[in-house]
């Protein structure tokens, strides 16, 4: 309830609302898309949205609070590292010789 208190809309709120929209879009794409690369991109859109929310809502009324900024930077570093890792796995999987378990990831392979 407090979140929606009738204060004037600040720049922080615009960032946060944009972030919420991005998060929803990314989540939708994650559910709808089946290809691993698209899912990775979708997760990154969600990540961008979350960072915008974190930075936008963390802005104080006048001064900029350094803590959310520090959290966002750490979060971006983690996200970049994981995206590189995920992309590397997707490349590996694409290069791997066609094995029976490919295309049906739901089944544990023997």
């Amino acid at each position: 309830m407090e979140l929606l208190a009738p204060e004037p809309v600040s720049a922080g709120h615009i960032y946060a609302v944009t972030g919420a929209i991005l998060t929803a879009l990314g989540f939708y794409a994650f559910i709808v898309r089946r290809h691993a690369l698209r899912q990775l991109l979708a997760v990154n859109v969600v990540g961008a949205g979350v960072f915008l929310i974190l930075g936008g809502l963390g802005r104080g009324p006048d001064a900029i609070d350094p803590m959310p900024q520090a959290l966002v930077i750490t979060g971006i570093v983690v996200a970049v590292a994981l995206t590189a890792f995920g992309a590397a796995m997707i490349v590996r999987l694409a290069e791997a010789p066609r094995s029976p378990d490919q295309g049906k990831a739901g089944k544990p392979d023997a």
Binding site: L4, M67, S99, Q102, A105, P108
Partner: protein, 491 residues
Amino acid sequence: MNLLGLLVAVPLGFMVAALLLRGSGRWLILAAAPVMAGLALWLALLPPGTTLLVGNWDLPLGILLRADGVARLMVLAGALVIGAIGLHALVDPPGGNDGGAATAETFWPLLYLMWAGANAGFLTTDLFNLYVTLEMVSLAAVALAAMGSLAAALRYFMIAMLGSLAYLLGVALLVANYNTVDVTLLAQVARLDLATVMALGLMTAGLLIKAALFPMHGWLPPAHAAAPAPASALLSAIAVKLGFVILLRLWFEAFPAITGSAALHVLGGLGAAAVIYGSIQAMRQDRLKPLVAYSTVAQVGYLFLAFPLVAGAVEPSSAWAGMTLHGVAHMLAKAAMFLAAGLMLKAAAGDRIADLGGLAQAMPLTVTAFGLAAVSLMGLPPSGGFTAKFLLLSAAIEQGAFLYAGVLVVGGLLAAVYLFRALSACFAPLAGAGPDTASRGPVTGGVKAVAPLALAGLAIVMGFAGTALVDVSAIEVPWATPTVIQPEVAP
């Protein structure tokens, strides 16, 4: 840097050393296992409540490491389990099987990364730092799963990343609302409002994915079943537990005043469903490793089934101990079972349960380890699993929560059904089509069976150390005083 810092820094140091030494890095475990066991034992002997402010930054900004009951118990059990798994991997190297995605060399840095991440996660009270440790452990877990099946690992990676971001979104809402992410500070200022409820919901959903609670367990069986045995043991014993411990921090330390009994019963209900569903799925498997993996789904259910029992107890310390001891007993028993299963499958003709015939004669020590681990998982006395289930069962009966009590009993029976099926297959006479017994001779070499046997033995011995462990696991938190649970207030 004091002991708490060392518990995180030392495994990271070993990780870097293992990366630099490449092939010969595997010998590092001979130093790492005793050093980490010593540090963890030291931690367990420290007075509860020992803390470290990393870098001496004060609290709203700094990161607090704290040795409370859960942290001491989990770090100690983790050190024993990871150390034993590492020593086992030294004598039985985890080669990547069909995927060919990774070699035994990559196993070691991942083991140390998971060790550091898990220790940091068990010790820290900073929710954002917990996000980082979650990612450390997930990264190691996905890479370990990729040693078996890339496809299963990629699926695990995607769902785990979504879970992390849900958790991070919750952290963002808490930062905006309270301007702090420290559990101990949040406990003092937490109030019931929309943002907090949303944050708690998002974080819980993300963590339930990581902890693989039904119905978010889908990624677990393929990933855990396909990985090489030491990797499976790490995944089931350690990776899944971190999500659970963070949920404990959130639900019982930071927001005990907000979590209504309805929400607690949702978690408890999911846990009960996980026990039944995981057990039935385990019964339906005809291959050994998926059976053990589905057993993890069922055993995770008990951890969450305990949530409403702890919150509803007049004297919560025994239910609390039951919950945490169950986590530790599962760590020991499941690691032992995966290691034993790996050895058994290497000796057997195939990966089906029916192929296990004759193994009881060929490798009695390994089958004994599997059997002892099964005793603890079923909750037969005397074992750690029995002590934990007994504490939970008596809490459930005391509160008149007969549904949970029934699930506890039925879950034990179902576990007996699927685990005895695997065990009895080992005692069956050798199938005619199997390889001749001579080819199984070398596998009986005792050294390989030592680690699973030691872990399973510890799971049994826990049954005799009951009250001492109850004392170690005890923590001081607001809910320890009665009448904390408030009725859910409609927002």
